[in-house]
């Protein structure tokens, strides 16, 4: 048994058996991270003791483990990027990195990972940053339990919290990102997992996908961002059990879908957003078991959306459930619970006997003349909504939920 364990250890850690630990502290022989990296051999561990280290442009070009003890401060003094990883198998753990330089020509980052595999970035605290963690052309890495606190004011001179570019198989978990441009940004990055993160109060998006496929994000919370999550020009994205909250404003969405195909949106909660989900040119998307609570618009469909299925969701107290700007509908609404449903269930099978029509005439009017929103909940509006319900003229007449649930759905 002992032999076997030893064997595994040898196999897994390889050269690490012979690895050494190198100490760095303000009063040590090695008083900078750079000097420690210079003398370190592959698979060594560098322990950075508590203290402040004024360094930037630190390049990690060999497989090393860099561990901070009690959060030593790496201060870039606003001179540029701070740590760049260019080797495979690098771990960075427990550092407090501040003062990343801002530039309009170069994306300076607190930590940049370049063409690397099997990296781990964890337990970092990043403040006063431009870009936080920038991962390019890398794969099989983990970004775990970091805290990124920016102070972004305007979009044009701020960077993203965690950015992935041409990278794949990256796991991003338990991070907290606030006050940057995009909390987490993926571009040309496939097969990534984004889980249990909190992204709040960011200028633009909490999470942003561009040209990225087969990614999964789940159990995240997106709160009070310019818009919660934007998924654009991507395929096969799974969005599971996330919370989208309080994304308020003129162009504010919980979730923005643009040119997305074959995605799954399951088990999410959209609460108090101006628009819960804004959909444009997105096809074959499955919406299931989501809660839409107190949104201005639960779902706003802006056209060219085909063969989507919206089933078994709860639509609770939204000002508008669904808004459509065309008369054509090719999407399926079925077995949802609508709190605005006023029908009855005489045969007691839990399904309303009259179909529910989630698109109101008034949402069409507001779309045309936004100021009319002030007449929301007026009796006159109820009257015209009713007449439209009886004989649809402006709204798609086949947009019906034939099996509206009588009770809120639980899953």
């Amino acid at each position: 048994m002992k032999f076997k364990l030893a064997l595994y250890a040898t196999l897994i850690w390889g050269g690490a058996i012979y690895a050494q630990t190198i100490e760095v502290c303000n009063s040590c022989e090695l008083s900078s991270l750079k000097s420690a990296i210079a003398i370190a051999k592959d698979f060594d561990t560098i322990r950075v003791q508590k203290g402040t280290y004024k360094e930037h442009n630190i390049v990690v070009d060999k497989p090393l483990t860099i561990v901070g003890v009690s959060y030593p401060v790496i201060d870039g003094e606003l001179k540029g990027g701070i740590i760049t990883i260019t080797s495979d198998n690098v771990t960075v753990d427990g550092l407090f990195i501040i003062n990343v330089g801002t530039s309009y020509t170069e994306d300076y980052a607190a930590i940049r990972v370049k063409r690397s595999k099997n990296f781990v970035i964890k337990n970092l605290v990043l403040e006063k940053l431009f870009f936080g963690i920038y991962i390019e052309k890398s794969s099989y890495g983990r970004v775990f339990h970091n805290k990124i606190i920016g102070d972004a004011v305007a979009e044009y001179n701020s960077g993203n919290g965690i950015q992935l570019w041409h990278s794949n198989h990256i796991e991003i978990e338990y991070n907290y990102v606030e006050h940057v441009r995009d909390g987490i940004y993926l571009e040309f990055s496939d097969d990534c997992l984004i889980k249990n993160n909190v992204s709040a109060e960011n200028l633009r998006y909490g999470l942003h996908f561009m040209f990225s496929n087969n990614d999964v994000y789940q159990d995240n919370t997106f709160e009070n961002n310019g818009a919660g999550v934007a998924v654009m020009f991507s395929k096969h994205i799974k969005m599971l059990n996330n919370t989208f909250k309080e994304n308020w404003g003129t162009a504010s969405y919980g979730l923005l879908l643009k040119e997305i195909n074959d995605a799954e949106i399951i088990g999410n909660t959209f609460e108090e957003n101006t628009i819960g989900i804004n959909i444009e040119g997105s096809n074959r998307i499955k919406y299931k078991n989501n809660n839409f609570i107190n949104n201005g618009w639960a779902i706003k469909v802006r056209g060219a959306c085909y063969t989507n299925s919206i089933t078994e969701n709860n639509f609770l107290y939204n000002s508008f459930d669904i808004a459509y700007n065309s008369k054509v509908n090719d999407n399926i609404f079925d077995k949802n619970y609508w709190s605005n449903y006023t029908g009855y269930d005489l045969d007691k099978d839990g399904i309303g006997d009259v179909p529910y029509r989630p698109v109101k005439l008034f949402s069409y009017i507001v779309n045309r003349t936004p100021e009319t929103i002030i007449l929301l909940r007026s009796m006159f509006i109820d009257l015209i909504n009713f007449s439209e319900k009886v004989s649809p003229v402006f709204t798609p007449d086949n947009l019906l939920d034939h099996n509206p649930q009588i009770k809120k759905i639980t899953w």
Binding site: I275, N295, G296, W297, P370, I373, L375, L376, F380, I381
Partner: protein, 260 residues
């Protein structure tokens, strides 16, 4: 005035109509809670009902009370009392007893349903405050109508017409105006339009509470200032107060000139 108020109030508190009104609200509250099984949803439904129904009941009841207590008013007029205090006393008596019916009728079922432990309590308070304001406004308007019309039938007719105008027709015209001039910036116009109708005004208060996410979707800066801050709430309350005061001032003015 307080004495008149006291006696009018007593008189009304014992009248059949107060009970009917009270029972109606009690029933409404119970039925809504029973159907919805959910406080917040019941509160939302109630809000829709309240802003239409309270004005109707306020006007009808106000007109009715005025006409039915005409002789009593004459008796009071012969007493050493100021005219304004007689009419204000009666007005306040009606408005207060209606408000009482509203608050108790709705309050009791909701309290039993666990209102105090619920987060809906603020929405519910707002609902009652709005309901009270509407009662005071529309009872005052009703007294104005009754004071200006000796003919009972005419008075009732005008009262219903007033309600129809403010509850439905006004919004229809408002909507048409907005759509017709949609090429112009309309946010100020739409807010002013709202201020000029007490029913719309109360509706706005309710929107502020329930639909703030939708309202913030609109771009206009004035809108944003109005709905995004407490400014809207303050302005609405001030305007509601003005809406109570104006007809009351007219009651005083009109009652001084009137022959009985």
């Amino acid at each position: 005035m307080l004495k008149i108020l006291k006696y009018s109030f007593y008189d009304l508190m014992r009248s059949r109509w107060s009970y009917v009104y009270f029972a109606f609200y009690l029933l409404l509250g119970i039925v809504l809670l029973f159907l919805n099984n959910d406080l917040s949803k019941a509160v939302i439904t109630l809000m829709n009902v309240i802003i239409v129904l309270v004005p109707l009941i306020g006007t009808i009841f106000g007109v009715m009370y005025y006409y039915s207590s005409k002789e009593f008013t004459e008796l009071l007029l012969a007493q050493p009392l100021k005219r304004s205090s007689i009419f204000l006393g009666q007005y306040l008596g009606v408005a207060l007893s209606l408000t009482m019916s509203l608050i108790l009728g709705l309050g009791i079922p909701f309290v039993f349903y666990g209102l105090f432990e619920s987060s809906a309590i603020w929405d519910f308070s707002l609902l009652l405050i709005t309901g009270a304001f509407l009662t005071f406004i529309f009872t005052a308007l009703a007294f104005n109508i009754a004071l200006s019309n000796e003919n009972k039938i005419k008075g009732f007719g005008y009262a219903i017409l007033l309600w129809l105008c403010l509850a439905i027709i006004y919004d229809g015209l408002f909507l048409m105006t907005l759509i017709m001039f949609e090429d112009y910036p309309l946010d100020k116009v739409s807010l002013i339009g709202t201020m000029l109708n007490p029913i719309d005004l109360s509706r706005t208060l309710i929107l502020l509470k329930l639909d703030i996410s939708a309202l913030l979707g609109y771009t206009g800066a004035v809108f944003k200032q109005f709905f995004g801050t407490n400014f809207g709430l303050m302005v609405s309350f001030v305007m509601l107060t003005v809406w109570v005061l104006l007809p009351v001032v007219r009651i005083v003015y009109k009652s001084k000139k009137k022959d009985f």
